[in-house]
């Protein structure tokens, strides 16, 4: 029982990273039906931007709140700008073309981001400052929970809450939901479709960057390749929850995190991906729209 709770805590922490990246997939997919394969790599870019601020630029010596806020906000903005650039130069001209062409472009983008980071930062592993957040923790009953875990889950919940409020409560959010249903109808209602697509890319990139920085703080070590696996799991999470469905992506992220933690704990770390994909395929075969149903209108 004790072990089970420990695994649960780990699973929820890791799951919150997946949930953030999965939200990026879901928002972009919901609006332009594009699986943005670069999403995981954006997260990696965010992690490296955060590291640049904290270590080489010495932000780690600032007061902790200032350091953390800067290490989140600046990479989020930087990654958003990068993602806008990607949208403008690579995806935009292809939006009305074939699905395959744009998918290949996204894969190419993922390669491009990885290799740019490889060039700039080199192939070695970089380390986040280990004591940014106090490494100690507290006990909930028998279970040890670190402050890092608490803080990270809290931050991701905060971001998700903000996203839900934004999508449900603002005019732009309403426009996004309208676009997910029907582009042409939305355009006829006077919605600036291009601007809303840009908003979706900005949101997706910001969430990805935040998860990247969180990953750096949690695991300490970062390398230019981690985006791929993160993206893969997050994408799985988005599909598991029903792609295009915002609460679904969050739930899917936490579920994948838990599944992974239990598999590693009870079976073996070697099999975690097999279990994750087996569950995903099982769910899709039984319920092809994901656990919580997709929220995108089927186009006939």
């Amino acid at each position: 029982m004790h072990a089970f709770l420990e695994y649960t805590v780990t699973g929820l922490t890791v799951g919150s990273f997946y949930a953030l990246v999965a939200l990026g997939y879901t928002i972009v997919y919901g609006i332009i039906r594009l699986i943005n394969f670069a999403q995981g790599d954006l997260s990696m870019v965010g992690a490296f931007l955060g590291w640049t601020l904290l270590v080489p630029l010495g932000f780690e010596h600032l007061p902790i709140y200032l350091a953390v806020v800067a290490a989140f906000l600046i990479p989020m903005l930087g990654t958003a700008v990068i993602n806008l650039g990607i949208l403008q130069f690579a995806y935009k001209p292809l939006l009305r073309r074939s699905l395959l062409a744009i998918l290949i472009t996204a894969l190419g983008m993922s390669l491009l981001l990885q290799n740019t980071v490889l060039l700039v930062y080199g192939p070695s592993i970089d380390a986040y400052p280990p004591n940014l957040v106090p490494a100690t923790g507290f006990y909930v009953g028998p279970v040890h929970v670190t402050y890092v875990q608490t803080a990270l889950v809290a931050v991701s919940l905060l971001l998700m809450g903000g996203l839900v409020l934004f999508v449900q409560g603002t005019t732009i959010g309403t426009a996004m939901r309208a676009l997910a249903q029907d582009h042409d109808a939305a355009r006829l209602m006077g919605i600036d479709v291009d601007a809303i697509i840009r908003v979706a890319f900005v949101l997706g990139a910001m969430l990805a960057a935040a998860s990247g920085v969180m990953l750096g703080i949690y695991y300490i070590q970062i390398q230019f390749t981690f985006g791929f696996l993160l993206g893969l799991r997050a994408f799985t999470a988005a599909v598991l929850g029903g792609i295009g469905n915002i609460p679904g992506a969050m739930a899917g992220g936490f579920l994948i995190g838990l599944l992974e933690a239990y598999t590693t704990g009870y079976v073996s770390g070697k099999w975690e991906d097999v279990v994750v994909f087996a569950v995903l395929i099982g769910v899709l075969v039984v319920k092809p729209t994901g656990l919580f149903g997709e929220r995108v209108a089927e186009r006939m």
Binding site: A90, L99, L107, G108, L111, L119, K270, V274, F277, M300
Partner: protein, 635 residues
């Protein structure tokens, strides 16, 4: 001006040399081409160049297989490396553990990967393409992890000391020898792929890629074809995998990553999806370009990524796209069409119908006679959410008549068609065709029972040529088996020629033979409707359902349509028609059913319908329809 003339002359010279070329069968051309390529590389004698050429051939084999899945069938596969791995491990284990000869392992490697294709394909048949992407990706990762954790196959270390291939006492152990083996395998892969492309399977796949729903509705068994695409795609990868294992000598799980799946996908898309020469070109670029860029060392992948993105932006259709337009689609066909086409069609139609009648009678389901009830709909009900689209509807269609269903928008007319053709399963009620229930059958089965249809919004296979659209409609009539299609046997070839011949007849029946080689999307609206009619007729149905065939036509086109519909009836085909054009309906119909809000409110001869007070009431208050009715009386 001179430039233009020169261009034209060159164009003509190219066209005629093309014609010269097509006189040789494809397999001869492939063998000659590969022999030349092999000869040039071997004469060059550089071991490095030869090794790169062997890699190009391996990737080309993989690309040809994935092209079947992605290019033809339009199913996104991101886990293709798994099949490559299964082929490689099957062959490697058989050679090292059971000491089989390399060439003897090939059939088993192909069998195993084909089976793996079926295992992946079966549960995913009904998934949409985006979901397929993640499921295939997952399949690839699961396979890789499974072999990493599989101790018998060496776990993460893989299989070592795989022997060279040998035949008749000769051991293939130089790069030059590998090149010969790989080109032979590539030749097999190319010839089979080409044969499939030009068979009913290839047409069925592309039709499915263009419009899955319409493909099913004209008689293409889409689920079976999807499964077949996975199986075939897997088989090609098995061939490539087995060769890869023996060539490298040592295989381990890191050779079969997601990156490989992506690279093969890039081969296909870069070359031009669905195009065989494109795949070869794509393989050349994907393998040779990084080699050329080797001097840039660390920048290599970066430059590759930039080129890839640039390529997609500038030429998303690929380097060598497949052109389905054909200037002379019926070139070389026996020219018996100078005689009256209708006569020819009538003869063929009667033959086909008689054959089916005998077949059915033998199975204990005799067909109904002229003037008897062909289609019997009883108490049909269908609803969407809370909306009752059709309620308690009963009617009968007699064999040989032209029966129209009219009614205001939203009356449930198209829903009735969808229930009859198996697109939607009715909530309640029975539908009998020729005395047998068709409820619950898949649409393509209903087509083979003898019901054809067109769609309210045109649903042609846009990027296929017009004659190919009609040939796709002939799908249910083919008898050739898959292996015959792959080998391009004389029987299959004969059937293909017949199919082509028939598509030509149906096109001239609707007056479109001159446009046969153009893409369906290039035709005018009215012509597209006529192609749909030809496609629906191609399977020699007993009953055709036309959903608003006159929509968007101008008066002369409508007049021609009336003639066509009568001609179809004269062939002995029963016609059920939905249309809003009252004058057309009144002129052509034997009987008319009027629906309003899902219920039948009147049925009878055109004159009676025009006098019926309930019909007038249903149409009153809807001004445009009232005008239509008035116009019809005048006509």
């Amino acid at each position: 001006m001179i430039g233009l003339l020169a261009d034209r002359r060159i164009g003509r010279a190219l066209a005629s040399s093309r014609e010269q070329l097509t006189r040789f069968p494809f397999w001869v051309r492939v063998i000659v081409f590969l022999a030349i390529v092999g000869g040039v590389v071997l004469l060059n004698g550089d071991n490095y160049v030869t090794a790169v050429a062997v890699s190009v051939a391996t990737y080309a084999m993989l690309g040809l297989g994935l092209n079947i899945v992605v290019g033809f069938a339009g199913l996104l596969d991101l886990g293709y490396a798994a099949f490559f791995a299964i082929g490689a491990y099957t062959s490697a284990l058989l050679m090292t553990q059971a000491h089989w000869n390399f060439f003897a392992t090939l059939p088993l490697a192909v069998l195993f990967t084909g089976t793996a294709g079926a295992i992946l394909g079966y549960p995913t048949l009904r998934l949409r393409s985006d979901y397929l992407a993640i499921v295939t990706l997952g399949f690839g990762e699961m396979t890789r992890i499974a072999i990493t954790n599989w101790d018998y196959a060496g776990g993460p270390n893989g299989v070592w000391n795989i022997p060279w291939p040998s035949a008749f006492g000769y051991e293939f152990n130089t790069q030059a020898a590998f090149l010969v083996v790989s080109l032979c395998l590539l030749a097999i892969a190319m010839i089979f792929a080409q044969n499939l492309d030009h068979s009913r399977l290839g047409r069925g796949w592309v039709a499915m890629r263009e419009d899955e729903f319409a493909a099913e509705a004209v008689g293409v068994p889409t689920l079976r074809l999807k499964l077949l695409a996975y199986v075939m795609g897997g088989m090609w990868a098995g061939l490539a995998g087995a060769f890869f294992a023996t060539r490298i000598g040592t295989i381990d799980p890191t050779s079969f990553t997601f990156q490989l799946s992506v690279l093969v996908l890039i081969v296909v898309v870069l070359g031009g999806t669905g195009s065989l020469p494109g795949v070869l070109l794509g393989a050349l670029v994907v393998v040779a370009l990084p080699e050329v860029l080797r001097q840039f060392a660390t920048y290599r992948i970066l430059i590759f990524a930039i080129l890839l993105i640039g390529m997609m932006l500038l030429r998303p259709q690929g380097l060598w796209p497949r052109v389905r337009r054909k200037p002379k689609p019926f070139y070389g066909l026996r020219d018996d069409e100078a005689r009256d086409v209708s006569e020819e069609i009538l003869r063929e139609h009667q033959l086909q119908v008689a054959a089916r009648g005998r077949h059915l009678a033998k199975a204990g389901h005799p067909e109904v006679g002229q003037g008897e009830v062909l289609l019997k709909v009883r108490n049909l009900a269908q609803q969407f959410g809370g909306l009752r689209a059709v309620e308690d509807l009963s009617f009968e269609v007699l064999r040989g008549e032209i029966f129209s269903i009219i009614g205001p928008n939203g009356a449930g007319k198209t829903t009735v068609f969808n229930c009859i053709t198996g697109v939607k399963k009715p909530r309640q009620g029975s539908i009998e065709f020729n005395g047998r229930s068709v409820v619950g059958l898949r649409p393509h089965v209903i087509v083979s029972r003898g019901i054809g249809r067109t769609f309210q919004g045109i649903r042609l296979f846009k990027l296929m040529a017009v004659f190919e659209n009609v040939m796709a409609g002939l799908y249910p009539r083919h008898r050739a088996m898959t292996w015959q299609a792959m080998l391009h046997t004389p029987g299959e070839r004969r059937e293909e020629v017949q199919t082509l011949q028939e598509s030509r007849r149906w096109l001239s029946f609707v007056g479109l033979e001159h446009a046969a080689g153009r893409l369906a999307s290039e035709l005018s609206y009215a012509d597209q409707r006529r192609v749909e009619i030809a496609r629906a007729l191609a399977s020699h149905p007993q009953l055709v359902l036309f959903d608003e065939p006159a929509a968007g036509m101008n008066p002369p086109e409508k007049a021609a349509l009336v003639g066509t519909i009568r001609k179809i009836r004269d062939l002995g085909i029963t016609v059920v028609l939905i249309d809003h054009d009252m004058s057309l309906v009144m002129r052509v119909s034997d009987r008319i059913a009027v629906l309003d809000q899902g219920r039948l409110i009147a049925m009878g001869k055109p004159d009676d319908i025009q006098q019926d007070p309930r019909v007038i009431a249903a149409y009153l208050g809807r001004e445009e329809d009232e005008l239509d009715l008035a116009e019809a009386r005048g006509a």
